[in-house]
């Protein structure tokens, strides 16, 4: 399978988005701060633009108003004719597509970094579409090497045949930074500080690339989804139990067949009935209850990331 084209020129148009979900506070607070004091986002060869992605949701401190913004960047939503009854997030997605895209066009931003939190214990999770995103994979590798103590895990969300739907997919290259656990509506200093540092390092990497650095091929380990598991429910659809204490907080750790995954309110354990080891991620994420997801089952796999040559600098104006 061939990889997608790597950038051949320096990346000039870069954005950092916070508040795609209006109650994930690290990105919101950072974006609000940078809108007042943008110096932190400036580098010699480019300046990143901070964007508050979902202002109405942020104002209400809720994930979304009508529709999850981070599921709204498909061509169906982006290209359909606007109507007065459109959900807030559909209108907003089209605006962001104009600002940062248009998706899949030559005019799209070079790179968008989208900031998120989760109530799940994912630690530092780097989210990209697929293993074919060569620039993003080299960036992830760079973050892993810079911060070995963080154990950054790479999560590749795209299922085969599925169109990308999230905000950073409107740009030519993108990455989601997902830090947890943090409750919705809470701003923790430790998570905030870690996110700030990671954003700075992402921008440093882009600068390094822009200055003419080539990166060699390497082997990368990542996790990709193979299914989801819902909570046990009553006939009426209410919860009948919750994530078992032995699974709670164990994101990215192996789950073997026969291990307990749910504890029923009546006391008994439900066991994992799959046939092979999986790696659960997003275990007990608040926002996923309504999506029918108690955890995402992933498989761990390794792949080769091809070398990324240095960009060809644009001709200087003086010559």
């Amino acid at each position: 399978m061939c990889s997608l084209p790597v950038p051949r020129e320096p990346l000039r148009r870069v954005a950092v988005t916070g508040g795609t979900h209006g109650n994930e506070m690290s990105g919101i607070c950072l974006a609000q701060h940078w809108l007042q004091a943008p110096a932190e986002l400036q580098r010699p060869s480019f300046s990143a633009v901070p964007v508050l992605a979902n202002p109405a949701a942020i104002a209400g401190c809720r994930r979304y108003v009508d529709h999850d913004l981070n599921r709204t960047f498909t061509s169906c939503f982006l290209n359909s004719r606007p109507t007065p009854d459109d959900p807030y997030e559909v209108t907003r997605a089209r605006e962001l597509n104009q600002l940062l895209g248009p998706k899949a066009s030559g005019r799209a931003f070079d790179f968008v970094l989208d900031l998120h939190n989760t109530t799940a214990n994912v630690g530092t999770c780097l989210i990209s579409k697929s293993s074919h995103e060569v620039f993003a994979m080299h960036l992830c590798r760079h973050l892993q090497l810079q911060y070995p103590e963080l154990s950054c895990q790479v999560f590749l969300y795209q299922r085969s045949g599925e169109e990308s739907y999230n905000l950073d997919s409107v740009a030519k290259n993108g990455l989601g930074l997902e830090l947890g656990p943090q409750p919705q509506g809470v701003l923790r200093a430790d998570i905030f500080s870690r996110m700030r540092t990671l954003v700075a390092t992402v921008l440093d990497f882009i600068e390094l690339f822009n200055q003419g650095t080539a990166f060699p091929a390497f082997e990368m380990e990542a996790y990709r989804p193979v299914g989801v598991v819902d909570f046990p429910r009553t006939e009426a659809g209410n919860l009948a139990g919750t994530v078992h204490p032995q699974l709670q907080d164990r994101d990215f750790q192996p789950l073997q067949p026969g291990a307990p995954i749910f504890q029923m309110f009546s006391g008994e354990d439900l066991l994992y009935e799959g046939e092979s080891t999986v790696y659960p991620v997003f275990i007990n994420e608040a926002a996923y209850y309504e999506k029918g997801v108690a955890f995402v089952q992933t498989e761990k796999f390794t792949f080769t990331v091809p070398a990324m040559p240095a960009p060809i600098p644009a001709p200087s104006p003086a010559s």
């Binding site: 607070c29 401190c61 109530t119 919705q184 509506g185 701003l187 200093a189 608040a286």
Partner: protein, 313 residues
């Protein structure tokens, strides 16, 4: 030694409220479970009624619809003329007062346990509204002893201006049960287990009491609210500093003058001022950002209870 005890009437009517805040899930699901199968909460001779107080907020998994249900059980709100224009929670409060009160009357429920979660690292917490209530001090002593070595803290909200009109305050003996940390909209098995145990011990205490057991004089350590502290804000009213990493998750631990309290976005530490050591609680509770409360300062003190025994024996 003559026994100088308070003779109390037996307890007859007990309620357990869940969903007063619709996104604090432990109470919601415990109550829903007990509505299906109430065996666990039954005790001989006692009526124990589980009840969802804010069903619309529960359905939307939000703290409240129009206003915070747990702040409006004062006589003014309870006495307002019923109308469709009243906020949903005020109408609901009047219904609840009718079912389990009326507040300050002989007919009200004896005990109401109101189940809550917090995003703060408060562990198992019992909330007391009246420092002279021998019966509740004895109950709390029993629960703490039964839970040990799992810590259980008692938060006293008696204060001339800071005490608030809780849902449970319509009962003769109001008991707040707060367990954290748990994010809003999340149900953790470990937190569920802790809250379940607290209720079990509380009901056991009531049962022993009704059966005639005498509880000798006892003392408990409590944390009494002094004042609430807001986040430092900028000229636009936006939050300008975060709870300092040294204070985050340190509920109930002493905070001394000079200790870090907030960290500004520019990296400056703001220390606790004044002369007194305080014990912070509700540190970084999500729902309190809008109430302008980063944490509450408390002082530690000991409350004593006289011996109590049920008057029927």
């Amino acid at each position: 030694m003559s026994s100088c005890h308070i003779a109390e009437e037996p307890i007859q009517k007990v309620a357990i409220f869940g969903g007063t805040h619709g996104n604090e899930l432990t109470g919601v699901f415990l109550v829903k479970h007990w509505l299906e199968n109430g065996a666990e909460i039954q005790r001989t001779g006692l009526e124990v009624k589980p009840f969802i107080t804010n069903p619309r907020a529960v359905k939307k998994c939000t703290r409240y619809i129009d206003c915070d249900l747990n702040r409006i059980f004062d006589l003014e709100n309870l006495g307002k003329k019923m109308s469709e224009d009243l906020p949903y929670e005020v109408r609901r409060a009047q219904e609840i007062n009718h079912l389990f009160g009326p507040k300050d009357s002989e007919d009200s429920y004896d005990i109401i346990f109101d189940l809550h979660n917090t995003t703060s690292n408060m562990g198992c917490t019992l909330i007391l509204e009246d420092s002279r209530n021998n019966f509740l001090i004895q109950m709390f002593h029993y629960i703490k002893t039964s839970l040990a070595p799992l810590p259980c803290y008692v938060y006293l909200i008696e204060h001339p201006s800071l005490k608030y009109a809780t849902t449970r305050s319509i009962a003769k003996y109001p008991v707040g049960i707060e367990v954290g940390p748990q994010p809003q909209g999340v149900l953790r098995a470990d937190i569920l287990d802790q809250m379940r145990k607290m209720i079990k011990h509380a009901l056991d205490f009531i049962h022993h009491f009704n059966e005639g057991k005498e509880f000798p004089p006892c003392a408990i350590e409590v944390y009494k609210i002094i004042e609430k502290v807001d986040y430092p804000r900028d000229e636009n009213g936006e939050i300008a500093a975060v709870i300092h990493p040294n204070l985050q998750d340190q509920d109930w631990k002493p905070l001394h003058p000079g200790d870090p309290m907030f960290l500004t976005l520019d990296g400056k530490t703001i220390p606790l001022g004044g002369d007194c050591t305080v014990y912070p609680v509700f540190v970084n509770e999500a729902a309190y950002y809008e109430k302008k409360e980063a944490f509450a300062k408390t002082t530690k003190l000991t409350l004593n209870a006289k011996s109590i025994r049920c008057s029927l024996h």
